[in-house]
């Protein structure tokens, strides 16, 4: 049997599959369906310094092979995460990634300081959040803005820092390079794509915020292109995300340069899809005579 464990930032993942932030809670709910200890890692629901109730109005909308969401980072806050969730997550013996968002540099820094003393293995910095100082444009659109926030958060962080890139970035190559230059230890991409839906009967946007984030199989070809662009640009390792729904999809992302992959929307399509995906990867490698999954990372 092919070896499917990978090393990412000096941490051993028993397989390259990570549950994507916001789609898997803190793992507890899915553990009622299957042993989530099977996963390589879990990226937590997006955290903010203080508890958030999230957005009002419709939060979910299905599109052709895609899902739009506007949850608005509903979460219990970093402190409550550390106190209440990490101990439960620790039981499953997989790698814990804390996904951290914020609207100001201060929020990010304060969140990181708290996480520094927690049991999380990696901090995933979500820079798709609107930057209140810059009039609400997300931190992750312009490379210069991202550079600043990554540089300062990296200095504050005692944990490995993985920066989660937005596909709405002006230029994926520049963005990846800027984050690497600012000291990011790794990149994860992509977050959801800015999208819109209209309720033509009510003659109103579906979502209170007008735009919302698109995920799922529909965006996979775009995500794969972006992962390939980022992987060609930087030397730091990459965690690929976006529409991955099968072992074959995961292999595509790894061939394009990802060391790890995250599974998001696919969890909703089939609640126990992650064990299937891990099995499919194993079968593919064995059939193709590949002894170690590391051999295929970035071969394209």
């Amino acid at each position: 049997m092919a070896n499917i464990s990978v090393d990412f930032l000096g941490i051993n993942f028993k397989n390259p599959i990570v549950a994507a932030s916001g789609t898997f809670g803190f793992g507890e709910e899915y553990h009622e369906i299957y042993d989530v200890g099977l996963l390589g890692g879990i990226s937590s629901k997006g955290l903010t310094l203080k508890e958030k109730q999230g957005n009002e109005g419709i939060r979910l909308w299905e599109t052709p092979m895609g899902l739009m969401n506007s949850i608005g980072l509903q979460n219990p806050g970093v402190e409550s995460f550390i106190a209440a969730e990490i101990p439960k997550m620790k039981k499953h013996k997989n790698i814990i990634i804390a996904n951290l968002g914020g609207n100001t540099l201060e929020d990010y820094l304060e969140g990181i300081r708290l996480l520094n003393h927690s049991g999380v293995d990696i901090i995933e910095l979500n820079i798709s959040c609107p930057n209140v100082k810059a009039g609400g444009m997300a931190f992750g659109i312009k490379a210069e803005v991202a550079y600043e926030i990554v540089k300062k958060t990296k200095q504050a962080s005692k944990k490995p820092l993985m920066v989660k890139l937005s596909p709405n970035a002006e230029n994926m190559t520049d963005m990846a390079l800027a984050c690497e230059a600012a000291g990011a230890d790794a990149l994860s991409l992509i977050n959801t794509l800015n999208a819109m839906a209209i309720d033509i009967y009510r003659r109103k946007p579906v979502f209170n915020n007008i735009y919302a984030g698109l995920s799922g199989p529909a965006i996979k070809p775009i995500a794969l292109r972006m992962v390939h662009q980022a992987a060609k640009a930087v030397k730091i390792p990459i965690c690929g995300i976006g529409g991955i729904s099968s072992g074959k999809d995961a292999i595509e992302f790894m061939m394009a340069g990802a060391t790890l992959v995250q599974i998001g929307t696919a969890n909703f399509v089939k609640a126990d899809i992650i064990p299937d995906i891990i099995e499919e990867i194993q079968i593919f490698l064995d059939k193709e005579g590949i002894r170690d999954i590391k051999e295929i990372i970035g071969i394209i």
């Binding site: 789609t23 809670g25 999230g54 939060r59 979910l60 092979m65 899902l67 509903q74 929307t265 609640a271």
Partner: protein, 242 residues
């Protein structure tokens, strides 16, 4: 709770736009719970939440209305087709704690989650009120439980003419259970709160995960946002912000 791929035993139309599907399952659901269901080859992404309408010995019954594309696909599925079921989900009714005389009030397809509940209740202590716009369905099944059943239709083609809410003398009941259109449930909840009667409502929200992980299906309560899929779908009417 499990995700199982099982088989459709029967899927047939019972009224305009209303279908009844029986599937095999290994799960043992409680009244008021639901499943996220999806045909194995449907051209839509997310499973759809559908309540337990009835259950007996490994046979699970759904009663559903063709609403949009997903439920239209359900109605096209043939006997023996494979179907994916995630469940049982949600809190369900804590029916063993119900006290005194109970009124069960269903409106339209909102009658779906109520049949299996009524089957579990003491029929002598249970009055069922079913309201429909025009065509009625599932009424016979409710009658067969032995409970007292009253029907209202807006166009008067069966039972009383008018709204089901007009049939109810709240003073007779200790507990009221309702599922149906939002306006109906709001009216009932308000009446019950005024009259200090226990009231439980089964809510609907758009769902993705169905298990409480995505926070897509929250509803506002006096205790903050609650997940309809996990903390509900059954809520105490007094907790809801309506």
């Amino acid at each position: 709770m499990r995700n199982e791929t099982t088989i459709i035993l029967n899927n047939s139309q019972v009224a305009d736009d209303i279908f009844r599907m029986t599937v095999k399952t290994k799960s043992i659901p409680q009244p008021g719970q639901f499943f996220m269901i999806k045909g194995l080859y449907g051209d839509y992404l997310l499973p759809r939440p559908i309540s337990v309408h009835d259950y007996d010995d490994g046979k699970l019954v759904f009663l559903y209305r063709v609403n949009g594309h997903g439920t239209k696909m359900f109605s096209e599925m043939k006997q023996e087709s494979a179907i994916q079921l995630l469940g049982p989900l949600g809190n369900g009714f804590d029916y063993e704690s119900f006290q005194g005389k109970t009124a069960i009030i269903g409106g339209g397809i909102g009658v779906a989650p109520l049949l299996y509940l009524v089957k579990k209740l003491d029929s002598k202590n249970t009055d069922v009120f079913l309201g429909f716009k025009d065509e009625v369905y599932a009424v016979d099944d409710f009658i067969r439980t032995g409970a007292t059943v009253k029907v209202a239709t807006e166009d008067g083609r069966a039972g009383e003419k008018g709204y089901v809410t007009d049939l109810i003398d709240y003073s007779k009941y200790k507990t009221v259970i309702t599922c149906g259109p939002e306006v109906m449930m709001k009216k009932i909840i308000k009446s019950c709160i005024e009259k200090k009667i226990n009231v439980l409502a089964s809510l609907e929200e758009r769902m993705a995960c169905g298990v409480g992980a995505c926070l897509g299906c929250v509803t506002k309560t006096i205790h903050g946002n609650k997940r309809v899929c996990k903390d509900g779908p059954i809520f105490d009417g007094r907790d809801l912000i309506i």
